[in-house]
């Protein structure tokens, strides 16, 4: 009987200990609800879902310091810049592409190509 009680106590203890073990490490990047709002915008693109996606990216960027790396996740500034570009805000698009380049040099080749594209189109409209 004693043995059974001690066994039950042991099982109980091990369950509680594993339940409140080491705290979960923070994720490498903060995404907020980016993937949910990206999905919602893919499912049905409306002005509301497009705005919600833009807001979720801005939120993820603002909260990047809460992540393990402290960096904005890869591609997030580029995603945001692309949304600005589609809504006609070329200056803000270039600004975001430059930020992507600064954090992730791997993106430089592609971002430079995009920035050049915008500048060429501006040259055409201005000239």
């Amino acid at each position: 009987m004693k043995k059974i009680i001690s066994l039950i106590v042991f099982i109980f203890l091990s369950l509680t200990i594993s339940g409140c073990g080491a705290p979960q490490p923070k994720p490498l990047y903060s995404y907020g609800n980016y993937s949910e709002s990206y999905y919602a915008a893919k499912k049905e693109l409306t002005p509301e879902s497009a705005l919600a996606l833009e807001k979720s990216i801005e939120y993820a960027i603002e909260h990047s310091n809460e992540s393990r790396s402290g960096r904005v996740a890869p591609g997030m500034y580029a995603n945001l810049g692309y949304i600005y570009l589609k809504s006609g805000n070329q200056a803000k698009a270039i600004e975001s592409f430059e930020k992507e380049k600064l954090i992730y040099p791997e993106s430089a080749h592609f971002m430079n190509r995009m920035i050049k594209k915008i500048e060429v189109s501006q040259g055409v409209t201005n000239g």
């Binding site: 993937s35 990206y38 999905y39 893919k42 790396s69 890869p74 580029a78 995603n79 592609f110």
Partner: protein, 229 residues
Amino acid sequence: MVNKRLIAYLALAVSVLLLTGCGPAYITKGVAFPKMYEEQPKSLLILPPMNESTDAEAKDYYMTTTERPFALMGYYTFPTEMVSDIMKQEGVYETEILYNMPLDKYQEYFGADAVLFTNIKKWDVSYMVLASTLTVSIEAKIVSTKTSEELWKYTGTVVVDLSGGNTGNGIAGLIVKLVVAAVNTAAADYVQYAKVANWRLMGTLPIGPYNEYYMKDQGFKFIDQTSKI
């Protein structure tokens, strides 16, 4: 008393041996994907998925799930929506064409070290009389843009039983089950399970340079899909 205990231990030991003998074969990341550790790609160009499933919408929906896991594993992931749109602007609409392009083109245009190809093999619900199952199966591979060699490949599959336990006997029970299954298979559920399938893939992917475990995970084991049992 002692003998009984000994017999019990022996029985346990034998059954453990038997179980491990019949289980799946395991392999380490280092043995399975040595080229990943040799070439050490830093950036992944995630292309729009190929869709071999019966659901035409699967392509658009699955696309929204890939950036995050591969970035969290430590790779620079190019923005998927932007890449997909630009490929269309360049006149490439068909994923099949995209998947047959010379790989150095992706290096030249985007500056990507490697390309991630994904193929939606299954994205459906099979309705049966007694049980309905939802299946999401994703085959993924990473190919070098420098050597055109395959660096990593794995298939993540999730099968979900939608019958949701016993809902009663007889005809009425079956009808309830079918209704439950239909309600349960809203599109969002597929995406939820696609994310689980992705994490099964991540368990086999060598960790990338932006993660602190970079080049430290060669000994990590997973189920070997190439072994024939």
